[in-house]
Every structure is written in structure tokens, then in C-alpha cells.
């Protein structure tokens, strides 16, 4: 990994993977209840993709197929947990997530400007909340808030962001 440019297939893989990574991640995430599990599955996915890469012509559909199987396997393992949707719904979500992939990519682009529209403190807060290693109770303590109040604030910020993203795209479509 340290000298990618020495290995042409590696370059090629990195390029393709970088191009599709976020879409794959969204796809996996849509089937799973938690962020951590999605990261766990993505880690499996990249290993499989890299191992089997040389045999593949059309990267994207193949990668989505690998990601779907890895996610379903993961769900199988934790089937007895609560908060896991049944297979029927998971497949439906997976299909629709894949179909919305381009739309979601537009949304991610719009998110950048929506983040800029947030008051700076709220933007910092939401980014901190998503930074690896941040614990919500610590964050709440630092802000002099109860964790519940912090969760509520984050809910509001996320909802505002989603509404902004949707509005932005709706405006672009009507112009």
C-alpha cells in the first residue's frame, strides 16, 4: 500500500474503488442498522474485492453484488438481534438504494453547501459527532448538555441538513 504507483493493477483497483467507495458504503449502510456494522462489512468487502479483482470486467455491478452478499451474511450472523429488518425489507431497501445511487451522489454533493449554511458551531458539532473516537457522552459533557439534549440537537441538525439537501436538488431540477 505504501507505493501504489509501482503496481499498475493496484493503481487501477484504487481508482475504481475510490470512484465507487461512497456509493458502496451507502448501499451497505442502507441494509444495516448501525454505522459501525456498515464499516465492519465494508472492511470485509474491500478485502474480497481486492482478492478477486483481477478476474473482473465490469467493476461496479460486481462490487455491488459482493457488498450485498457480505451484508446479508453479516445479517445472518446477528439474526436474533432486535432492530434487524426482515429479509424481505432488506432486499427491497438494497434494490432501491442501488437504484438511487446517482441521486444519492448528487445529494452528497449538495451536502457540502448545506453544511456551509449551518451556523459554524452546529457544523462543528455534527462533524465532531461523526469523527471517529468521539463519544457522545463526552461531547455532551464538554458542551454542558445532557446526552439526551445533544441527541435531540443532532437530530434537528441532521433533519435540517436533509431538508436543505432535498430542497437544493428540487430547486436544481425546476430551474
Amino acid at each position: 500500500m505504501s507505493q501504489p504507483s509501482d503496481h499498475p493493477p493496484h493503481d487501477h483497483f484504487l481508482r475504481l474503488y475510490a470512484e465507487h467507495e461512497v456509493a458502496l458504503h451507502t448501499f451497505v449502510r442502507s441494509m444495516l442498522p448501525t454505522r459501525e456494522e456498515a464499516l465492519e462489512v465494508m472492511q470485509e468487502v474491500i478485502v474480497i474485492l481486492w482478492q478477486k479483482f483481477s478476474q473482473v470486467d465490469d467493476f461496479r455491478p460486481w462490487a455491488f453484488g459482493v457488498a450485498r452478499l457480505a451484508t446479508l451474511r453479516h445479517l445472518e450472523r446477528r439474526k436474533r438481534d432486535r432492530h434487524v429488518f426482515d429479509n424481505e425489507l432488506v432486499s427491497q431497501l438494497a434494490d432501491e438504494s442501488a437504484a438511487m445511487s446517482e441521486h444519492h451522489s448528487d445529494q452528497r454533493e449538495a451536502l457540502e453547501s448545506c453544511l456551509q449554511k449551518l451556523p459554524a458551531t452546529q457544523r462543528e458539532l455534527v462533524i465532531n459527532a461523526y469523527t471517529k473516537g468521539t463519544r457522545m457522552d463526552d461531547l455532551a459533557t464538554r458542551r454542558g448538555q445532557t446526552p439526551m439534549a445533544l441527541y435531540k440537537l443532532l437530530h434537528r441538525i441532521r433533519q435540517a441538513l436533509l431538508e436543505c439537501v432535498r430542497r437544493t436538488l428540487a430547486q436544481e431540477e425546476t430551474i
Binding site: 501504489p4 438504494s97 451536502l111 462533524i127 465532531n128 471517529k132 439537501v165
Partner: protein, 526 residues
């Protein structure tokens, strides 16, 4: 069944749903296609915010590493660069791919330090129109991101020291203090020695500045052009696989047109083809003079407006602060330095020391009231700072100030039904965050006992509205602008002086509406 689906989906993501709620969500998702779209949008947002935070953490890490600042001259970096986009994504956005142990757990220590992700300052604009709803103004700090100027001129100062003039229509993407991508349009850049290595990317090449002044045009039929007016620049082909991928050096006086086909044509540089920094300054000065003259005209007219009760225009400052309204309630200036306001010729008072204040005595009583002012806060909020505070804290006497949290705050003592006095306060959202420090801002608060509302406004836009507790008639009497005079206790008092400048303050005997305040803002903004 009546669920707040936004809340339910978010709590599903947070893992705090009860079994019943999770089941309800599952059933609803199965039968409701719109709800599935909402759910999938939330999942997408979750991933996007995660990768945003990760890439920012990665960028911070890179900037903190010893390699930063050396990037432009480091051969290692240059050879690595063609893959930078792909590699950075995999290595850093997906930090877990190579194991995230390299990054230390973020600082959750006692005192969070304020942070800002600015890379450049927008210093001057001339007739600038921007694409989109956000219209950056002179004085704004800019984060990494796209600047799309549809017309006019804008001048940026990157934190690295590089100065850039953007000529509309232009589309410049700020990447860091040291790097920008020119998607289209014309720029002129001046790069002092300490900003050597400043990079501008076009579709055809990456320009690395070696200390110079140059012009660049992207997106014409001929591809991209560079003209060097002073010093030298280095051009690297954007397509690293191109046959002639050796960097090209351009010296003073040289110009090159670089077609998307890779074909290059030399020509002589012509500095007068691009607006100069002097042009921008003189045109921006001219605009400022025009706006100041327009404000003077507006100001004379508004002093005769029957809605104005007291008006301080902060012009002709000596020992007195003149009230140009009907009551001539002139103030007395204590301390304070006379300074410049929104425009170089406009008067203002600078408040800094705990003693600085303007002492006023404002007659009358008000069932409806608007307080409006142009202020420039020059410090990050952290304690109460008075805008207009009546002496002590008495029935019906308002306190208008900036709270430690950066909120605009209006407080008044009212009488409860049982006769007891009760302090009430109405706060806006946080308006004075670090980015608003040093920026002229129009603040207004309206108080209306008829409709029973207090509203706060920023630059004419309503920021909050709250219902009044009680319908207390207001009176001002003796008060301080920019401080809190003669407080309750003798001897010592809380330090509440405003830190910054004020160059206009008006008391209106009506509660102005948002459209009226927006119009005032448009007529008076710098």
C-alpha cells in the same frame, strides 16, 4: 398511528428504538415508498457526514505532519501526486482500510479550542454577483469549496499569502490555503515569497508558482492560458500519462495557450489584459464612496420619519453623540475612540475598555419598539456585552445586549399578576460566532405588546420570534450605549462593555416588520 418519521428513523440509526417502534418502522417502510426514500436519504446522509468528518480529520493530520509546507518542493510528493485523489480517498477517507490505529483518539480534553476551517479571506468585491443563494461579502472568511462568480470582481487573500483577483464569470474551487482549482474563468494571482508553491489547477495542467504574478484563463475554446507578468511558474501536465509529462517553466513575459488536445502555443504576456490589484482597490473605493453618499441621503430622510424616536448616526463626533431625531436626546461620550465606520469616511465609536460608553437619557414610553444598530463586534463573545442597557434593572426598562453564547438578547423586568417583579429574557440563536467577528452587522430587535412578540433580526432577516411574558410598557430613561451604567450594587459592577465599533443606532416607536428591516439593511449595508 401518528409517528414523526424523521425522529423514528434517526432513533433507529442511533439504536434507541423500542421493539414496538422498530416493528412499526419496519411495517411502515414495507408499505410506504416515500418513507423508504426518506430512510435511504438518511442513510446516505449518515455515510456522507461520516466521510466528511473522516476526510477532515485526514486533512488536519496531513497539515499537522512535518511534510506540510514542503509539499511543493518535495520530489516525493510530486511523483506521488497523480494518484493523490484516488489514494487519498482510500487511505484517508477509508482510514479503516489500512487500520485506523495511526490516528489518535480525538482530543476530548477539558477545554475545547475554538476551530475554524477558513482558507482565505474575501477582501474586496466590486459589483459581484455569485451563483446560488449564498452571496459572500467583503470581509467574509471562506472555507474550502466552490466560488462561482457570475459577474463583477472579487479579491481573495489566501492564508498562505497568495492574493487572487477573480473576474466574473469565473468558477474557482478553494482547496486549501495553498491550492485552488480553476474550473473556468479568469484570475490574476500575486504570490509573495512566503507563499511560494501556491498551486492552481486547470483541466490541462497544474500550475506551481515559484514566487510571481501571473494571469490565467480557463475554459476558452483554446483550453487554458497562462501569462507570467513577473517571476516564474512551473506547469505540470494534468494528464500524467501524457508523452511529454516533464514540467514546463515559464518566465516573466511568457504566455502559453494549452489546448485540451495537449497542443501548446506561445505568445507574449500582456499584464494589462487582466484587472490589476490597483484597479480592484480603486473601483472598490469608488463603490464605497457611492454607497456612503447613498447612506447619507437615506439617513437625512429617515431622521424626519415619524416612526423614529431617537437616532444616532455617529457622524460629527466630538464630546457629544448627536440625536438627529425629533427629541434631540444627545448622548455624552465617555472614553471611546473615534474611528471609521462601514466606510472609510463614516464616523464610528470604538468601545474597548470597561469605562467606554455613551451616556444617554431617552424620554418616552413604548408599547411597541424597535432597536436597530450597525455594529462590528471585535471579540469572540464570552461574557455579556451591552448594546443599550438601562441603568440598574427596573420595571419595564430594557437590556439589549450580546450574551456570552453569542446570542442577541433582550431582557426586561415585568410585573407578575401577583405584583411580584419577574425578569424575562428573549434570546436569538447564536449569531456572533467567530466568523462574524470583525464584520459589520446590522442587528435589530422588535418588541410589540399588541401582538405579544419579541423578534430578533440579523441583516434584516428574522432570526427568532418569542411570545412575550406579560405586556409591559417599556421606558428607557438613563442608559448606556455599549455598556451598563451605574448598576444596582455600589462600588463594583459586572464588566459588560461592548468590544468593537458602533456606527449607527436608532430607536423606532413601532415594531418594524422583516420587510421594512430588510429594506433598511439594503439601504445601509456597506
Amino acid at each position: 398511528m401518528n409517528h414523526d418519521w424523521h425522529d423514528l428513523i434517526q432513533r433507529y440509526i442511533a439504536g434507541t428504538l423500542s421493539d414496538e417502534e422498530a416493528l412499526a418502522l419496519q411495517n411502515a417502510l414495507k408499505s410506504d415508498a416515500d418513507l423508504r426514500v426518506l430512510y435511504l436519504d438518511y442513510m446516505n446522509l449518515d455515510v456522507a457526514l461520516g466521510s466528511h468528518a473522516e476526510s477532515r480529520a485526514a486533512v488536519n493530520e496531513i497539515l499537522a505532519s512535518p511534510m506540510a509546507g514542503e509539499t511543493s518542493r518535495s520530489a516525493h510528493w510530486l511523483s506521488w501526486r497523480p494518484l493523490a485523489a484516488a489514494a487519498a480517498l482510500v487511505l484517508f477517507v477509508g482510514g479503516w482500510v489500512i487500520g485506523s490505529s495511526a490516528r489518535k483518539a480525538p482530543m476530548l480534553s477539558e477545554k475545547p479550542e475554538a476551530v475554524d476551517d477558513g482558507v482565505a479571506l474575501l477582501t474586496q468585491v466590486v459589483d459581484a454577483n455569485w451563483r446560488g443563494t449564498h452571496q459572500p461579502r467583503a470581509g467574509n472568511i471562506l472555507s474550502a469549496g466552490r466560488l462561482q462568480l457570475t459577474s463583477g470582481l472579487a479579491q481573495l487573500e489566501f492564508y498562505s499569502g497568495a492574493r487572487v483577483i477573480l473576474e466574473g464569470p469565473s468558477d474557482l474551487e478553494l482547496v486549501s490555503a495553498n491550492r485552488a482549482v480553476c474550473h473556468s474563468g479568469r484570475i490574476r494571482a500575486w504570490v509573495p515569497p512566503q507563499a511560494r508553491g501556491f498551486q492552481v489547477v486547470s483541466p490541462e495542467f497544474e500550475l506551481i508558482d515559484l514566487g510571481t504574478e501571473f494571469g490565467m484563463e480557463v475554459g476558452g475554446t483554446t483550453g487554458s492560458k497562462v501569462e507570467v507578468f513577473d517571476g516564474e511558474v512551473e506547469l505540470h501536465p494534468a494528464d500524467a500519462g501524457a508523452p511529454s509529462s516533464t514540467p514546463l517553466r515559464l518566465l516573466e513575459g511568457a504566455g502559453i495557450a494549452w489546448a485540451s488536445t495537449g497542443q501548446r502555443t506561445d505568445f507574449r504576456a500582456n499584464a494589462s489584459g487582466f484587472p490589476s490589484f490597483d484597479d480592484v482597490r480603486s473601483r472598490s473605493d469608488l463603490r464605497a464612496k457611492e454607497r456612503y453618499a447613498a447612506w447619507q441621503k437615506w439617513s437625512r430622510a429617515v431622521s424626519n420619519d415619524s416612526r423614529v424616536s431617537v437616532r444616532y448616526d455617529f457622524e460629527k463626533l466630538d464630546a457629544r453623540l448627536i440625536d438627529s431625531g425629533p427629541q434631540h436626546a444627545d448622548g455624552t461620550i465617555i472614553g471611546c475612540e473615534v474611528s471609521n465606520g462601514r466606510w472609510a469616511e463614516k464616523g464610528a465609536l470604538e468601545f474597548k475598555r470597561p469605562s467606554d460608553r455613551v451616556r444617554v437619557n431617552i424620554p418616552g414610553s413604548y408599547d411597541t419598539l424597535t432597536l436597530s444598530a450597525w455594529i462590528r463586534l471585535d471579540t469572540i463573545p464570552g461574557r455579556m456585552q451591552g448594546l443599550l442597557l438601562t441603568d440598574g434593572h427596573e420595571l419595564g426598562c430594557p437590556h439589549w445586549q450580546i450574551a456570552p453564547t453569542g446570542q442577541l438578547r433582550f431582557g426586561v423586568l415585568v410585573a407578575a399578576p401577583d405584583g411580584a417583579l419577574k425578569g424575562t429574557g428573549y434570546g436569538s440563536p447564536e449569531l456572533f460566532h467567530p466568523r462574524r467577528v470583525g464584520v459589520w452587522t446590522f442587528v435589530a430587535t422588535t418588541y410589540d405588546t399588541h401582538v405579544g412578540k419579541v423578534r430578533h433580526f440579523l441583516n434584516g432577516k428574522e432570526m427568532s420570534t418569542e411570545s412575550l411574558v406579560g405586556r409591559q410598557t417599556l421606558r428607557i430613561g438613563k442608559a448606556d450605549i455599549g455598556n451598563w451604567g451605574l448598576p444596582i450594587a455600589n462600588g463594583s459592577w459586572p464588566v459588560r462593555n461592548f468590544v468593537g465599533r458602533i456606527d449607527e443606532m436608532t430607536l423606532w416607536n413601532v415594531a418594524l416588520t422583516e420587510s421594512e428591516l430588510l429594506e433598511i439593511y439594503q439601504n445601509t449595508r456597506p
